[in-house]
Structure formats: structure tokens, C-alpha cells
């Protein structure tokens, strides 16, 4: 489209938080996009050009940082971030996909018990307990289907295809097609054959 005139990025429901960087031609919709945005990082959320973030939720905790490349399309996706979520260019996230880089509570029972108390209405002044978090890294050209979930510490390689409903708890190699809970590789997507020289 040669006569395309770039427009400033915008959130359809209001003013963006000051520590959000939104590229040209990018659009965020959904009144609750920043309802759970608590990051104090500078910047906390960096979004490239030409992204469509339709009904996205950016639930980013104080130390969390999310980066999203160019020309991504997310529909009704939930990003839960404690540490870091890094997403490449041309990434598609289907309806109701969830990315979570943290467990948000400890697993060990006594620690978890103390953490629940600290979270409760009786927990004023009590410290939260440490819990495991590890960054999520998603490469370029990745497809993540409807209702799929990506858990903490996962790296998804360039060009991977995550089938709808998949539960991704381990790394996915580039150009792999995965399905299931837990997600397993069912196919490697062939690279384009170079034209005959």
C-alpha cells in the first residue's frame, strides 16, 4: 500500500500510562487493557508498529517489563508478567490465550500458606513470600491458537505454530508445530526452498 499514511498509535479507551511506548499504526482496544497494569519500569511496555491488540489485558506487576515487536495481532489475550515477556515481530495470539511468566505464589506448602495469609484481608503488614518467575521469550512469526497457555521460562522459536488449546510448559524449537497438554511436537514446518539460481 504505497499511499499509506502512518497514524500515531492509540488506545481506544483512554490515555496510555506514561511508561508505555506505542508504535505508529498500533491499536489497543478494551476498557480493561490496563486495569491490572502496576509496572513502575521505565519503560514498562514497549509495542512496535502496526500492532492490533484487540481486547488485550496487560497485567504487569511493579518490576515487570513487556516488549512486543511490529505487526503483531492479539485478540482477547492476557499477559501476566512479573519479570519479563519478550515477543518478536509478526506474532499472532488467538482468543483467550494466556502468557504467564510467574506462578505468583510459592509451591511449598508452608510458604504458600504464609503467602495466602499475606494476601488475605487479615494480612496487613505481613510480607508476601518469594515465588518462582522466569521470563517468556517468543520469537518472530509465531502463531499461538485460541485458548492456548504459555507458562514461565518458555522460549518459543521463530516460526513455531502452537495449536489452539495447547499448554506450553517447555521450550518449542523454531518452525515446530505443537499440540496438546502438555504440548508436544507433531511436525516440523519445512523452510521455503530457495529459488533455483
Amino acid at each position: 500500500m504505497p499511499d499509506h499514511i502512518p497514524q500515531p498509535g492509540r488506545w481506544a479507551s483512554g490515555e496510555l500510562p506514561a511508561n508505555v511506548v506505542l508504535g505508529e499504526d498500533s491499536l489497543i482496544t478494551g476498557p480493561k487493557a490496563f486495569a491490572r497494569f502496576r509496572s513502575t519500569r521505565e519503560p514498562a511496555l514497549v509495542i512496535g508498529r502496526g500492532c492490533t491488540l484487540d481486547g488485550a489485558h496487560f497485567a504487569i506487576n511493579p518490576a515487570g517489563q513487556v516488549t512486543i515487536g511490529d505487526a503483531c495481532a492479539f485478540y482477547g489475550s492476557v499477559l501476566l508478567c512479573e519479570l519479563e515477556i519478550r515477543i518478536g515481530h509478526h506474532v499472532y495470539l488467538g482468543w483467550n490465550t494466556t502468557l504467564s511468566d510467574s506462578d505468583f505464589h510459592p509451591t511449598e506448602v508452608a510458604e504458600r500458606h504464609a503467602d495466602v495469609l499475606a494476601c488475605s484481608t487479615l494480612g496487613e503488614g505481613l510480607a508476601r513470600r518469594p515465588y518462582p518467575s522466569r521470563p517468556i521469550v517468543i520469537g518472530n512469526d509465531v502463531y499461538i491458537g485460541h485458548n492456548a497457555t504459555v507458562l514461565k521460562g518458555v522460549t518459543i522459536g521463530d516460526g513455531a505454530f502452537i495449536e489452539p488449546g495447547a499448554m506450553v510448559s517447555k521450550d518449542v524449537p523454531p518452525r515446530a508445530r505443537v499440540i496438546g497438554n502438555p504440548a508436544k511436537v507433531i511436525e516440523m514446518i519445512p523452510s521455503p526452498t530457495p529459488p533455483p539460481s
Partner: protein, 199 residues
Amino acid sequence: MIAKVQRQFAGDWEPAEMPENIVIDDTAYVHTVYCFDLVRSELPAAVTLARGSQVNDGAMFDIGPRGRVHIGECALLTSPWFLCDAEITVGAYTMISWSVVLMDSYRVPLDPEGRRQELDRVARSGWRKIGADVPARPVRIGRDVWIGFECVVLPGVTIGDGAIVGARSVVAEDVEPYTVVAGNPARFVKRLAKPEGFP
């Protein structure tokens, strides 16, 4: 171009427009006109709802220009999402629970290079929805089927009459009639007795 008609259903605050190629039997129930907001089909009878069928709040018919959906007699749809570019049929007396996705197309190519082109197109479009011209494969749900909540039925799948699909299953392969399947991906669990006189 398909003309619009004004309709008002049980859950609507006021009348709203929907395409006139949606054919709803007088005895069928639709909660709100909003469920047809993404119907772009140019076919006659793009969506048909047979006698006694029911479409409750939260359902969404996202139907491309050449898509067609048929809902059979007394079918009970809680809030499924239809993503249809070819054909999705739901048989009579079938129940589909909440947030089930029935899709006959991924709407993007499997190869990353083709997908990149489509996302570049979306980035510069006004409509901002994906919809690459990739082959769609019809989804057929039989009669007397029961699909549990948050399931996904993938393109090309046929679910046989009388089958049950457990909640949160992902159905990637055909399901035999009168069987129970569950899991992600869905696997055979057991057979169900076929009652006398059933097809």
C-alpha cells in the same frame, strides 16, 4: 452486498441490525443480535437456526464471505464461538457448552512466511481482523452430541452422532459415533450404548 434488517431478541435493550441472510425459525431462541455482529457471509441462508434451537448469551458467529453455519433442531448452544470460512453444521439435539471454539479455518497459513504477509496486511487495514485466503475444511457435529466447556474443535473434524467430548478437550481428529472422548488432544475413553430407533 447483503441488506440489514432490524431485530430485537430477548436480551437486547433495543432493536439492532443484522444481515438479512440469517434465517431463524419462529420457534428458535436467540439471546442477542450482537452474536451476529461478525457475520460477513454473502451466501443466501448464511446462518440457519432450525426449530427449537437456542443460542444463549456470549455466542459469536464470526463468519467469512463464503461461510455457512447450520444449527439443527432443538440444538442448545450456550456460548460457542464459530469461526467459519466454509461450513460448520451442528446436528439436532446437540449441546455445546460455554467458550467452545468451532473453527473450520486457521485463517493464517501454516508457513511462517505466509503468515508474516497476512499480519503485514492486517497492520495496515481498517478492519484489523485476520482472514488470509487459506483452505478451510468443514466441521461437522452430528446429532445428539454433547461438547463440554472450553473445548476446541479444529478444522476438518467430524464428530459422530451421540458422542460426548469432555470439557477443555481439543478435538484434532474425527470422533466415532456413540463414543466418549476427552483430553488435549482428545482420545477415545469409552463407547456409549446406541439407543433403539436412533439413526
